[in-house]
């Protein structure tokens, strides 16, 4: 028997952070909303949620003195260390910049700029959409073209790190991963059973460390 993993959900005062915490608790993890550096350091995995504008989230993360903590944790995960998952704007902030907030810098763990969705569709994409994903532990147990919930007006570039896309006026980057660094544009904590499966896969990845 393994003890339940301790997950630090980075709390920097934006929107609804509680759902991610509760979804992880629902799956048996000990999840804490925290900005405490020691508590974050002691956790088995880190979650970076995010809603709203890119620039506002970057600022709020800095105000909470979590920018460097998040950056280090994401880099470590991308090199195969402690798992980290970014959600929505928490994923976008892993890129270098966003055209939504050109004066703000992201964490630049992934290269490239977050850009707007296609012109001929409504902004934000606020709906359930189907995923097209490649073989990745993030999607273990999901069936092809499962549906997940998106709320966003911007998206990361599609690169070698992209592991899932959805179609919204063309292919849109829906998830990226590099080793133990995972990130989703959709909200796994708001995507019913499919989303809980993704989060459970993240906990499995954490338990396997």
């Amino acid at each position: 028997m393994t003890s339940s993993p301790r997950i630090a959900v980075l709390d920097y005062g934006i929107g609804n952070l509680r759902s991610a915490q509760k979804a992880l608790e629902h799956l048996g993890a000990q999840a804490e909303l925290t900005a405490d550096h020691q508590q974050i350091a002691a956790a088995d995995a880190v979650v970076l949620p995010g809603v709203g504008a890119f620039g506002r989230c970057v600022e709020a993360l800095a105000q909470a003195e979590l920018t460097e903590v998040a950056h280090q944790a994401a880099i470590e995960a991308s090199q195969g260390g402690r798992p980290f998952i970014g959600i929505c704007v928490g994923m976008q902030m892993l890129f270098s910049t966003s055209s939504e907030s050109p004066n703000q810098q992201g964490l630049a763990v992934f290269p490239g700029q977050v850009g707007p969705l296609a012109d001929d569709v409504k902004h934000p994409q606020m709906q359930w959409n189907q995923l097209e994903f490649s073989a990745h532990p993030m999607f273990a147990g999901l069936s092809k073209n499962d549906w997940v919930y998106f709320v966003h007006g911007y998206a990361g570039p599609i690169t070698e790190h992209t592991v899932a896309t959805c179609d919204y006026g063309g292919p849109v980057c829906a998830a990226v991963a590099q080793k133990n660094l995972w990130a989703t544009q959709f909200h796994p904590e708001k995507s019913g059973t499919a989303g809980l499966t993704v989060l459970n896969n993240f906990l499995d990845e954490t338990a396997g460390q």
Binding site: I14, R18, G52, P124, W147
Partner: protein
């Protein structure tokens, strides 16, 4: 691809669902959390709680409902009713809601829309627009507040444009002429408001059959359809609604 969301609306009074609910096998049909969980299992794409008490001393009751819902329900939900400030909204969002909906407060103080959008992002801000037909308005539709009792003299189409400019991320449109009639959505109103609405539009007010949901999505051109009584009274399940919509050629998230 665009899919149409199906959203049941729960009117909550002093922490209980009102308007009557007729699900079988619910321990307590009046408990909003239990009903929310049930709708989630049935395949609802989102939920809306409207706090119809909405006095400040009842606020904590609603926050508690939100807290409990967030522990059990893992689909998006919006809370409306009585939110008049950034702090009111923060309390609801911190408790686990994804969006707040404002109506009278937006008309009384349009700056609140941009304050909320700036603080939490547009995707958190739903502006609810209650309207009636009026020959005195350029568009033919006038905004009402206080649950449809008070005329504002504002043109509904112009108001939608203004609230989007101020940062609303979604519009929930209710025809007060149709609300409670079960005659179907006011399709002309949906088309008028939707024509220049760059953000998602939820249709509400008047649904009496599953065909009305299809009409709203197909003829009204909306992004989401909201209904209360056809689901609450057990006449139809969410699954039936989605089946009917899919058969009519609409894209909906299928029920697993």
């Amino acid at each position: 691809m665009k899919s149409i969301r199906v959203i049941p609306c729960l009117d909550v009074h002093q922490g209980r669902v009102v308007k009557g609910v007729n699900f079988v096998n619910l321990r307590d049909a009046g408990d909003p959390v239990e009903l929310a969980a049930r709708y989630d299992q049935e395949g609802a794409d989102e939920l809306i709680f409207l706090d119809i008490t909405a006095s400040s001393d009842e606020r904590n009751t609603m926050v508690e409902v939100v807290r409990r819902t967030a522990e059990e329900v893992f689909i998006p939900f919006t809370v409306g009713g009585g939110i008049r400030s950034v702090e009111d909204a923060r309390q609801i969002l911190r408790a686990g809601a994804d969006k707040v909906s404002i109506n009278t407060a937006a008309v009384d103080s349009p700056a609140l829309i941009s304050e909320l959008a700036q603080e939490f992002g547009s995707q958190c801000v739903v502006v609810s627009v209650d309207a009636r037909r009026s020959s005195e308005m350029p568009s033919g539709f006038e905004v009402f507040i206080h649950g449809g009792r008070t005329a504002t003299g504002r043109d509904a189409v112009a108001w939608v444009e203004e609230v989007v400019q101020r940062g609303a991320g979604e519009i929930m449109q209710t025809s007060m002429d149709r609300d409670g009639t079960r005659d179907g959505f006011d399709l002309e109103m949906l088309q008028a408001l939707g024509a220049n609405c760059p953000v998602p539009l939820i249709a509400s007010g008047g649904v009496g059959s599953l065909e009305h949901l299809v009409d709203g999505a197909k003829l009204g051109g909306v992004d989401a359809v909201l209904a209360a009584s056809i689901f609450h009274f057990g006449e139809h399940t969410i699954a039936e609604a989605k089946q009917t919509m899919a058969q009519a050629g609409l894209v909906v998230r299928p029920i697993v």
